[in-house]
């Protein structure tokens, strides 16, 4: 399928001399795209300052206690800021190289800004129901983004996304209502959804309502994370949406929903380490199995990455389910995967724009044909599969070690079996794309540094998370993991 943002038919371009000024620099871009890039840059700088200007354990409240800046919000604000900068740079270069993409780009920029503002506020929110409303706002902003310059197929994909999200978020709200009922039933002095007040009320649980509430919350938020059984929207939406929008959904919205999951786990794990652990492990394993089947059956590389995203959600759910030693691995894995998905989906957009197809059988010899994109796709795939030296490898290793140390041998065996199947199926589809014989004449335009700099930066972060984390970053990771019950 030819998708407007992803795939304008590639006109053969003569190879410019190395270092020649890129076409991107010559084409005038709409003011809105410049605004997007400026806002993304500012967002990333502010997130960086918020993350590292104060100690990891410091907590600040603002706006009458409605906003909180703690380790969880700092870490995820940073992830959102970096990924959004990468997406904005991608749009900047794509619009510059393909002027027809400027059509209706103001609308795209407007909704993207609304999306990211809601995402940042959701991360800063100190009230669970307010966070819920802000996550719903990101969904509402994403709907027109998925349809952008769209066909009926995209319209259907955005409908599926919206319907699943609405149902998932309604279940989450019902979960909150059950928690409130539990607080009332147990005679808690006040019913509140402010994080600190809720932490106090959570110490007097009414078992049935608390359990029901948490199951509904995880089922509902699991919809946003693509966990089984409510995962069906994800491959379709990630496949059909423009690549930049897919990156926003997979790397930003996923992590905003995950931060909300972390908040709930942090509150309830403080009083009961094992709360709904088995349910999360079961959801995670089921999701990994679904993902493996999807990867085996698909011949579309964007869909394949989408199914791999399901796998990530499954690993995170299992890690959260066992908690303790796996908690640090979960945080590392979640952040790594935000960067991996951003790199892979944005690169997939470039590949589709070049080849005009998303069929793995039609793409071959990427490393020769599109050296930079081929390289990013190769490295991203290795990171996706959990190879060293990336953060995803270390995160997965810690989760697996947590499974063994927690005595979950059956889960460990199933986990390994599914991962092996995933690895073989992914390699079978992707490796010929990367190393096969090129099917098109080798003719590639030099890419300006600006087009690859964000992906290079994300890649550097990925490697750093596997090899060496600077002390302030590590402190942030540890602080978030401690809240999840890390030993």
């Amino acid at each position: 399928m030819t998708t407007p943002l992803a795939a304008p038919a590639p006109a053969p371009t003569p190879a410019p001399a190395p270092g020649a000024p890129a076409a991107a620099a010559k084409t005038a871009r709409p003011r809105s795209v410049k605004l997007l890039l400026a806002v993304a840059g500012l967002d990333a700088v502010l997130a960086f300052v918020a993350a590292f200007a104060t100690p990891a354990s410091a907590v600040f409240r603002a706006a009458g206690g409605y906003l909180v800046l703690d380790a969880t919000s700092r870490l995820f604000l940073l992830v959102v800021g970096l990924v959004f900068l990468g997406v904005a740079t991608y749009l900047w270069t794509r619009v510059g190289q393909t002027p027809e993409l400027s059509e209706r780009v103001d609308r795209l920029v407007g909704y993207s800004l609304a999306f990211v503002v809601a995402a940042n506020l959701a991360l800063l929110s100190n009230h669970l129901v307010a966070t819920w409303a802000l996550v719903e706002l990101t969904t509402l902003a994403a709907v027109p983004l998925i349809q952008h310059r769209g066909t009926r197929v995209r319209l259907r994909a955005s409908w599926t996304y919206f319907l699943f999200s609405s149902i998932g978020l309604a279940l989450t709200l019902l979960g909150f209502a059950c928690l409130a009922r539990g607080m009332e039933a147990s005679g808690a002095p006040e019913v509140t959804f402010f994080l600190d007040g809720l932490a106090r009320a959570a110490r007097q649980p009414s078992e049935l309502w608390r359990r029901l509430g948490l199951v509904l919350i995880f089922l509902g938020l699991g919809t946003k994370l693509g966990l089984a059984p409510m995962y069906a929207w994800l491959p379709e939406t990630y496949h059909r949406a423009p690549p930049a929008v897919t990156a926003l959904l997979a790397a930003i919205q996923f992590n905003v929903a995950l931060a909300l999951v972390f908040r709930v786990v942090q509150i309830y794990r403080a009083s009961d380490q094992g709360v709904i652990g088995p349910e999360l492990v079961a959801l995670g394993l089921a999701t990994m199995a679904v993902s493996a089947v999807g990867i085996i059956s698909t011949r579309n590389y964007t869909r394949l990455i989408a199914f791999a995203s399901l796998n990530h959600g499954g690993v995170i759910a299992i890690g959260l389910g066992i908690g303790r030693i796996a908690a640090y691995g979960v945080v590392l894995y979640a952040v790594s995967n935000a960067f991996i998905k951003a790199i892979l989906f944005l690169t997939a957009g470039k590949i589709e724009a070049h080849y005009g197809t998303e069929d793995v059988r039609e793409v071959s010899g990427l490393l020769e044909d599109m050296p930079y994109s081929g390289l990013f796709f190769m490295v991203g795939t290795f990171a996706l599969l959990g190879f060293p030296p990336f953060g995803s490898f270390l995160g997965e290793l810690i989760v697996m070690s947590g499974l063994l140390r927690g005595g979950h041998h059956g889960v460990f065996a199933a986990f390994c079996a599914i991962l092996t199947a995933t690895f073989i199926a992914t390699g079978r589809a992707i490796f010929p794309m990367i190393w096969g014989e090129p099917r098109k004449p080798v003719r590639w335009a030099s890419q300006p540094l600006a087009t690859i700099a964000p992906k290079l930066f994300l890649l550097a972060c990925l490697v750093a998370m596997g090899l060496y984390l600077p002390a302030p970053v590590n402190a942030l990771f540890r602080q978030v993991a401690a809240g999840l019950g890390a030993e």
Partner: protein, 207 residues
């Protein structure tokens, strides 16, 4: 309050049996009205958040939602008949079983019994019936109605508690509901009566 809850349950069940889109919208309106009556029965709201909640139930759920969707379907010249669940004995039996299961659940969840048990039972029944609608529908309008029934079931369950959300949060929740309904409306308008999975209409069904 019990008769109000029975009215809510009737508004959830009747559109399953009387298969027109007008009945579905009327069901949503009656559910909103019943919830307004339940809230109003506790006296005049003494906080701004309470007033917003009252407006949410009366103006948004009772008046705006059904009226807005009604206008869209009228402009589309939608056929009168619209099954929210398949019109057969199996579906009706499943619907009955779900209502029974909801009452059994409430019996366990609220051992103290009384009005709270009835409230939880009706909310649970409305919730399960909304899932039945969502599971059996293929058209945008039917799915939107299923999702809005789910929203109403959640709102009814929230009314069982005495707690209030802070004003900014309540405003946010109501605002999100309005935007959600507008988005559903936009999809109903654009997707029309065709099945949303892209398949051909089922034989014997309205196109």
């Amino acid at each position: 309050m019990t008769y109000l809850l029975i009215a809510f349950l009737a508004a959830a069940v009747a559109p399953l049996l009387i298969a027109t889109w007008r009945t579905s919208l009327l069901g949503l309106a009656v559910q909103g009205l019943v919830m307004t009556a339940i809230l109003a029965g506790r006296g005049r709201p003494d906080t701004a958040a309470g007033a917003v909640l009252l407006a949410d139930l009366l103006l948004v759920r009772t008046l705006f939602v059904p009226r807005f969707l009604y206008g869209i379907l009228l402009r589309q010249n939608a056929p009168r008949r619209s099954d929210v669940i398949p019109a057969n004995l199996l579906s009706w039996t499943v619907a009955g079983a779900l209502v029974l299961a909801a009452f059994r659940f409430a019996d366990r969840a609220c051992p103290e019994g009384g009005e709270l048990e009835m409230h939880v039972a009706v909310a649970a029944a409305a919730l399960l019936l909304s899932f039945l609608v969502l599971a059996t529908q293929r058209r945008a309008f039917g799915l939107a109605v299923g999702a809005l029934r789910l929203e109403n079931a959640v709102a009814l369950f929230e009314l069982a508690g005495g707690h209030e959300l802070p004003l900014p949060v309540q405003l946010g929740v109501t605002g999100v509901l309005i935007l959600t309904v507008l988005t559903f409306g936009a999809f109903v308008r654009r997707l029309g009566a065709a099945p949303v999975d892209g398949s051909a209409p089922a034989p014997g069904r309205a196109p």
